[in-house]
């Protein structure tokens, strides 16, 4: 079963072709990595899947459902979560609040029940808080949950972003360069965390430049270059692929 199907996806910005007829599937519960040199179109692909912008041609399906035309927030509702390359964006909130925000699509209290402090709001607030604490615990950050996010070290901000994305209860989690800027220790912890996320039944699709981490973690690898898919397979298969080697070393493929 494929949780994500990308079908003939093309995305152009003006005259620039960022994605050129890319098709692949992400199998349920399998950690899949999307790799490729800089400018290969990895982040563009993430943005099209997440709904930041629509595709020029082609379709994206989540568990069989066509996502074309759905806005980003609606896709989160359907179970597609993501993190960004530069981690956290809510510096004006504390760590726990950052994760509580992630419960937004799984809670309902509106502006009126909030303003008038209806009993339903109190109950929901409590469960939002408890759930958020649970996700902070999961990434190992429950200790200083009341610190402002802006003051956190980089590695922790990453983890808060992951906890926030997990709090939306995704079926598919897109991680954009989760290991960038982390030290060796933090990377080891990240590998453990991503495996644990997999055990929770969430399919992980990650963009990553750290090849050691990709080889260690990914059960399936998709390689993009200049907006085209040039290879896919297991780590072993992809590592032997001449086109992949050429793309990374900058040689012409014979």
């Amino acid at each position: 079963m494929a949780i994500l199907q990308v079908e003939n996806l093309t995305k152009t910005f003006g005259g620039i072709v960022a994605l050129d007829d890319v098709s692949f599937e992400v199998a349920d519960h399998r950690i899949t990595a999307l790799i490729g040199p800089n400018g290969a179109g990895k982040t563009t692909l993430f943005n099209v899947v997440a709904g930041t912008y629509g595709p020029t041609r082609g379709a994206v399906r989540l568990a069989g459902q066509n996502l074309n035309g759905l806005r980003a927030p609606d896709r989160v509702q359907l179970g597609s979560g993501r993190t960004f390359q530069n981690a956290l964006h809510f510096d004006n909130m504390t760590e726990i609040e950052n994760v509580m925000v992630g419960r937004h699509p799984r809670s309902r209290c509106g502006i009126l029940s909030s303003a008038f402090q209806l009993p339903s709001k109190r109950r929901e607030e409590e469960s939002i808080f408890l759930e958020a604490m649970r996700y902070l615990n999961l990434v190992g950050l429950a200790m200083d949950s009341n610190e402002l996010a802006a003051g956190l070290p980089f590695g922790q901000r990453r983890l808060v972003a992951v906890a926030r994305a997990l709090a939306t209860e995704p079926r598919l989690l897109l991680l954009d360069e989760p290991a960038a800027g982390l030290n060796t220790m933090e990377k080891t912890d990240l590998v453990v965390l991503i495996r644990r996320i997999q055990e929770m039944g969430i399919t992980v699709l990650l963009v990553e430049h750290d090849m050691a981490l990709v080889m260690q973690l990914a059960e399936w690898i998709i390689v993009l270059d200049h907006g085209r898919k040039i290879a896919e397979g297991t780590a072993e298969q992809v590592g032997k692929d001449r086109k992949v080697v050429a793309a990374y070393l900058g040689q012409e493929a014979p």
């Binding site: 980003a72 993190t83 909130m93 925000v101 937004h104 209290c109 909030s114 008038f116 607030e125 926030r164």
Partner: protein, 332 residues
């Protein structure tokens, strides 16, 4: 639980109690009707600033035309009570509905813009509404205004003295303050701050930005509309002058002085700017002999620049930070 513990555990509830005590006892020892009247204006401005803080400080959406909504509330109350003889409370309610609907329709279009574009668009809208108050003379009384707005009354009790009106206005302030605090500390409040932080990131956690922006705009203009109604029933007269561009700028200054993302700051900002206006009115003519309202605008501008440079989080937060105040330090 002693008082200090209670203060730490429930800071908002404690501060609300303190505010209620201060406001409740103020007229008992302040006998100057001028000061009570100033207190009424501080209260009305606090309601307006509170609404603007939700929109600007929390959701991060600028409005340079907020006085227009204040004006729509004021004119709806005045026209309906003077021309149609409607019950003032019903007129206030209709004012709320009219203002909220106008804001909703405007918001549908205007929130396609952000940043400077949104600022310029709201500025333009504010000016259009202001001019409309002066132009539709048949309805609004034109530039000279509409006199004869009745006093507010409940049953046989008429709010005819300044002290009674002071209590009425500040009761509304406290109610709106509670509503604002509740919204800020809720799922919706977090969503607003998330939108302020980054709309892309807000998208990624399933927050419908446009929906939340519209909602907070409507809430904010409901406050403005009520403030407008309270204003005309106190002045018993309405003219375009208090709802122009200067008023909108003044509101932004009040919000900025108080600290944009601070519900309590709205109160301090409104009080600080109004007291400053009072002082300027007394002392500016001593420095500049033929000083007018325009000169006070210059002073507002200077204050805004200085505060934004020195204390970008506002006067309240800035001062609290500069004072070494152990109970405000975060626990480690």
């Amino acid at each position: 639980m002693n008082m200090q513990q209670f203060w730490r555990r429930r800071p908002n509830a404690s501060a609300l109690m303190l505010l209620a005590i201060v406001v409740g006892t103020l007229p008992l020892w302040v006998k100057s009707s001028y000061l009570i009247s100033t207190g009424i204006f501080v209260g009305i401005s606090a309601i307006l600033t509170l609404g603007l803080c939700l929109l600007l400080g929390y959701a991060g959406q600028i409005s340079l035309g907020h006085a227009a909504f204040y004006g729509i509330g004021a004119y709806t109350s005045a026209i309906l009570t003077v021309k149609s003889g409607l019950n003032p409370w019903l007129a206030i309610l209709i004012g709320i509905i009219v203002t909220a609907s106008a804001a909703y329709l405007i918001g549908l279009f205007i929130f396609r813009l952000s940043g400077h574009y949104l600022a310029v668009a709201t500025l333009g809208l504010g000016i259009i509404v202001y001019l409309a108050f002066g132009e539709f003379g048949e309805l609004t009384g034109g530039p000279t205004g509409l006199p004869g707005v009745p006093r507010l009354a409940v049953g046989g009790f008429v709010f005819d003295g300044d002290v009674e009106y002071f209590y009425l206005v500040w009761s509304v302030v406290i109610v709106f303050l509670v509503l604002s605090l509740n919204v800020v500390n809720s799922r919706v409040g977090r969503a607003l701050r998330a939108i302020h932080g980054s709309e892309a990131a807000a998208d990624s956690v399933g927050i419908d930005s446009s929906r939340h922006k519209l909602q907070v705009l409507v809430m904010s203009v409901v406050f403005a509309s009520v403030a407008g109604s309270l204003y005309v029933h106190y002045m018993r007269f309405v003219s375009p002058q208090p709802f122009g561009f200067t008023a909108s700028v003044r509101l932004v200054v009040m919000a900025a002085v108080g600290g944009l993302a601070s519900v309590w700051g709205a109160l301090f900002g409104a009080a600080a700017v109004i007291l400053l206006t009072v002082v300027l009115r007394e002392f500016l003519p001593l420095v500049v002999p033929d000083a007018s309202g325009e000169h006070t605008v210059i002073v507002y501008g200077i204050i805004l620049v200085v505060i934004m440079v020195l204390m970008p989080e506002g006067l309240t937060v800035g001062l609290l930070k500069s004072i070494r105040w152990p109970s405000f330090k975060s626990k480690t």
